[in-house]
Symmetry: C2
Subunit: 217 residues, 2 copies
């Protein structure tokens, strides 16, 4: 993971937090190390049981330093989601480059998304539960949907833009994101019964059916 | 609202709770009054700012009595979701009775669902945020999806059961529930831009497109 150098702009508005001293010149490298350490620990054993002293230790920093950069676990998680959303958007857009057809472009995008879901499984599962956290930019998962919607909108617009008005295109993007995320989560909870290939094909078939059906209205 | 006489079986596993004295013979009428009072107050001003003393006062009971029936606000909310899910299932199934066609049956079901969403708006919004609460039966919204899936499965089975295997039918039901719930929530957040009729028609069109598309594979 390569973390951005930008300070966090999205923060939770509730939950446990400490009054903390603000750094006038925060060190982006230190912030990145804390996020990196937290990301690793979440992969190893999920988010809920993580303790801040463990994150600090893994990063080779003190608990006091942690609190110079984050108000608590919720803000840390929010920052991770913001970073991961940025990285995921880049990755999905890159995955589509050079595709020979619209169908292949969609397939590649979905494939890269499921790669991400699989790679970050413990964090993704926690996000499905904690994503509704209230932040300074509203509900965290609504924010993430809005981010991804910017990339999906031009894709569906190219396919059905002449048949749907802007409001319908917006709803279509929301529906696509909701189904994809929900079925990815459902797959993780039921890996014993559904292979990744099956989930992937099902999402593709449903997406294709919707696009064909809306074109022929 | 008419609340069931059954004691609560679904409880949150985390959050603030009190060690409480268990009643050997809880009074279902008292429990119902507390749920009723909470339901009314949520409609008036949402869930987050509600205080337990207000709920008790509205029910004409003491705070001590509240804690004889519920461990705290989370358990109260979970109980409300369980009750509402049961009432909603009955209502949706009743709405479909006597429909002249499959299309009309689906339209009536969706119409009744959006009635419910509109009537319970503040509670529904809170559910979209707090539904991922961990309970004794797992994630609360996963539990509710599983409840509704029992009613939706026979409907889609009748339409595409000969074309899809059981695993695909299961995914189709999940996709349908996810899209319907997400777009209902999206509508509530953007009522200035989307009429109810527009959301309703869009969900119907998308559902029809998926069913037609999967039939013709």
């Amino acid at each position: 993971m390569i973390f951005t150098m930008e300070p966090p702009k999205v923060k939770p508005v509730a939950g446990v937090r400490r009054q903390r001293r603000k750094l006038r010149t925060p060190n982006p490298e230190v912030r990145g190390r804390l996020l990196q350490a937290a990301g690793e620990l979440i992969l190893e054993r999920g988010f809920p049981s993580l303790r801040i002293d463990e994150i600090a230790e893994r990063a080779g920093l003190s608990v006091g330093t942690f609190y110079l950069y984050f108000e608590g676990k919720d803000e840390l998680f929010t920052s991770l989601v913001v970073e991961q959303t940025r990285l995921l958007r880049e990755r999905l857009n890159r995955a589509m480059e050079g595709a020979a057809s619209r169908a292949e472009r969609g397939a590649r995008r979905l494939d890269a998304y499921l790669d991400f879901v699989e790679e970050t499984e413990p964090g993704f599962k926690h996000y499905l539960r904690a994503g509704s956290m209230e932040t300074t930019v509203g509900d965290l998962s609504t924010w993430a949907f809005t981010e991804h919607a910017q990339d999906v909108l031009p894709i569906v617009e190219e396919i059905v833009g002449d048949k749907l008005d802007p409001a319908e295109l917006e709803l279509l993007v929301q529906a696509n994101l909701a189904v994809t995320q929900h079925l990815a989560g459902y797959w993780l909870e039921h890996k014993d019964r559904f292979s990744r290939a099956r989930i992937q094909k099902f999402i593709q078939d449903v997406t294709a059916a919707v696009l064909v059906g809306l074109r022929s209205r």
